[in-house]
Amino acid sequence: MAKLTFQGGIHPYDGKDLSKDRPIRDILPKGELVYPLSQHIGAPARAIVAVGDRVLAGQKIAESGGFVSAPIYASVSGTVKAVEPRRVVSGDMVMSIVVENDELYEDVGFYPVAPPDKLSREEIIDIIREAGIVGMGGAGFPTHVKLSPKEPEKIEYVIANCAECEPYLTSDYRRMMEEPEKLIGGLKIMLRLFEGAQGILAVEDNKPDCISLLRQLVREEPGISVKALKTKYPQGGERTLIYAVTGRKINSTMLPADVGCIVNNVDTVVAIYRAVVEGRPLMERIVTVTGDAVASPGNFRVKIGTSYEQILEAAGGFREPPEKVVCGGPMMGIAMSDLKVPATKTSTALLAFTKDEVSMIEPGPCINCGRCVEVCPGRVIPSRLADYAERFDEQAFLDNFGMECCECGCCSYICPARRPLTQEIKSMRKILLAKKKR
């Protein structure tokens, strides 16, 4: 049963007004484009071009490195300049293919394999895998893996995650307003994979224009409905979304398919449409550039591999020197130390703030107020988990469901003592996950 919301969550300042009415603009990059071989969860891709090779836009430059992996395509034409470790958003050095853009934007020519209704289930999934599509909401999980559950006949809901619950982000909103037919077309292709499943467009109710537009467009589609979810962060998290739409609950050890659901973000669904219907591999995405330090906030169609510096330039550069620049939303995004890093398949936004609130606050002792417990969508006790993490009490951390944290940041956001709860829990989880892998 649809609940349309979930227990917990917060209502941060949403800041979407800065960029929500700015139509998507194209950015034509200059100079070099950098394609990290690891822009997804799973095995890194393997480079199949060598230094000196000329590549065209839409040409595969790295092939999938395993089942859970994805190929990478050049987004411009030019010459391969280097295959070397380059810095990425997280600050790590990652093996990357560097292409010097010749600014001719020659492409390989895109042709669909066959009309979508002529394609079989396997063919569709093949096209999606070959197109290098991964979860573009931020996680980067290869989409073809998601679409290949063990028991496909048990899938009852195919959900397009149109919540866009992160403050400031408007890229999905713009996409839905400007290209809704591609979103719906992509959803229809996914529905072909799961006979009998219902298609659901799950939108937060802070986007009423979007909801009515989509409702209008799916009026004639019996298998697709639009669900207006209550606006609350993190409504767009996979677990909270599935609960809001179906009333079903999954924990961190389960997959959406375990409760008959497939969830994909707006940009991912559009990428599926473009791959299947237009024959285009994943080469670009929509990025919101916003924040009070940005001269002219907006939404941009960015060729993957473009440096953040150029994306920022397209938005008029900095109005004031920023104190903090974030890749992604303010709740889960990564603070960047350097703008000379490439946008990848999972880059949703570039935020620049003139003030960094976090550096101005001073953590105090926990007063046990319980606000973190109230807001935690994972229904754990963040303040206690942070204590266990601080003491490195592995047993207590696990016994109290520490691994269920989705790192959404609600506890840190709400904490009146300003404790870095998310950070503590996140670090502990990272250590324990690494330990498990070993």
Binding site: I10, S337, V380, I381, M403, P416
Partner: protein, 321 residues
């Protein structure tokens, strides 16, 4: 860009509420009760409140100065600015009779801060409510002065004592607060007004106060010997320190369970203890001891009301990704 960017872990935005803003809200919410106390008991009530607050704030500052300058803990900051010491001093004063010698109020303040709070690690670490612990400390040390509720504005016995002796009480006076008692406990309306502020600001919720008050009402109805006589039940609810305790002391963050379910259990336990103390105990009062005893049960309550994480059915099921 000639300035280095700041980096930190997510999230990059924070809510506006802070520990000191919460404490300030509690102080504001206690103003109706304090104001009525001063109006009802006269200017000396204001003096007791002032002295008690100075006692707690002074004690915390001296304790900090001792650690900072005598023990050489150079990084230690004076924590009075979080305003929790002011709340403790105010609550303590509202739990004292107006005629108490001023030095006793100061002593209570020092006990609350030093013995109950700071020695256990300061704010957030105390396992008992400091104001209530100090009140009980004074009650045990100076029983006569602490139960001397005679004043110009009121007759001898408190309504609860009269009730226990089988006399009739004027419930209307109790609701408005024109009765004997400690400075801040007499007016149910003034306390309720303050509680509304806290409820509206989201500082407290009704879990503990509601389960506490309902349990006391049921207990009094069943065991009080007068059945569910509305007059008697309302007198039990409005009398003594119950209103002040239920809304301002049982809800003290540090000393109540953090789990939602645990808070209901805690409220019910406080209600049962209060009922037992009031009806079967030798005295007419019972709220302070009930809450202090309840404080000690908090770890146990939390242990058995640990929430089950989202997506799990059974309690005790472990997550191992």
């Amino acid at each position: 860009m000639n300035k280095l960017l700041k980096v930190s872990s997510n999230p990059h935005v924070r809510s506006q509420m802070t520990t000191s803003s919460i404490m300030l809200s509690v102080i504001v919410a206690l103003m109706p009760a304090a104001g009525f106390g001063i109006y009802h008991f006269g200017p000396r009530a204001a003096l007791v409140i002032l002295v008690s607050v100075l006692g707690t704030v002074g004690a915390e500052t001296l304790y900090w100065a001792f650690l900072r300058f005598v023990c050489g803990q150079k990084d230690r900051k004076n924590t009075v600015w979080d305003l929790s010491a002011v709340v403790t001093g105010l609550l303590l004063a509202l739990n004292l009779p107006v005629g108490i010698p001023l030095w006793m109020a100061v002593l209570g303040g020092i006990f609350a801060i030093v013995a109950v709070k700071m020695l256990f690690g300061g704010l957030g670490q105390n396992f008992m409510n400091p104001a209530l612990a100090a009140r009980c400390f004074l009650l045990i040390s100076f029983p006569a002065r602490m139960t001397d509720f005679v004043c110009d504005a009121c007759t001898g016995a408190t309504p609860l004592a009269a009730l226990k002796a089988g006399e009739q009480v004027n419930v209307r006076d109790m609701v408005f607060g024109f009765t004997g008692g400690t400075i801040g406990e007499t007016s149910a309306i003034a306390i309720a007004a303050g509680a509304c502020i806290l409820l509206l600001l989201g500082i407290i919720d009704l879990r503990i106060p509601a389960s506490y008050l309902v349990t006391v009402a049921l207990f009094a109805g069943i065991f009080g010997g007068r059945g569910f006589d509305p007059n008697y039940i309302s007198a039990q609810l409005a009398g003594g320190g119950l209103m002040l305790g239920a809304f301002f002391m049982a809800t003290d963050y540090v000393t109540r369970p953090i789990t939602g379910k645990g808070q209901y259990v805690y409220g019910v336990i406080l209600g049962l203890l209060t009922g037992i103390f009031r009806i079967f105990g030798p005295g007419a009062e019972g709220v302070s001891y009930a809450i202090l005893l309840g404080n000690l049960l908090v770890p146990l309550i939390e242990k058995y009301t640990r929430p089950t994480a989202f997506g799990y059915r059974k309690r005790g099921a472990r997550s191992g990704k």
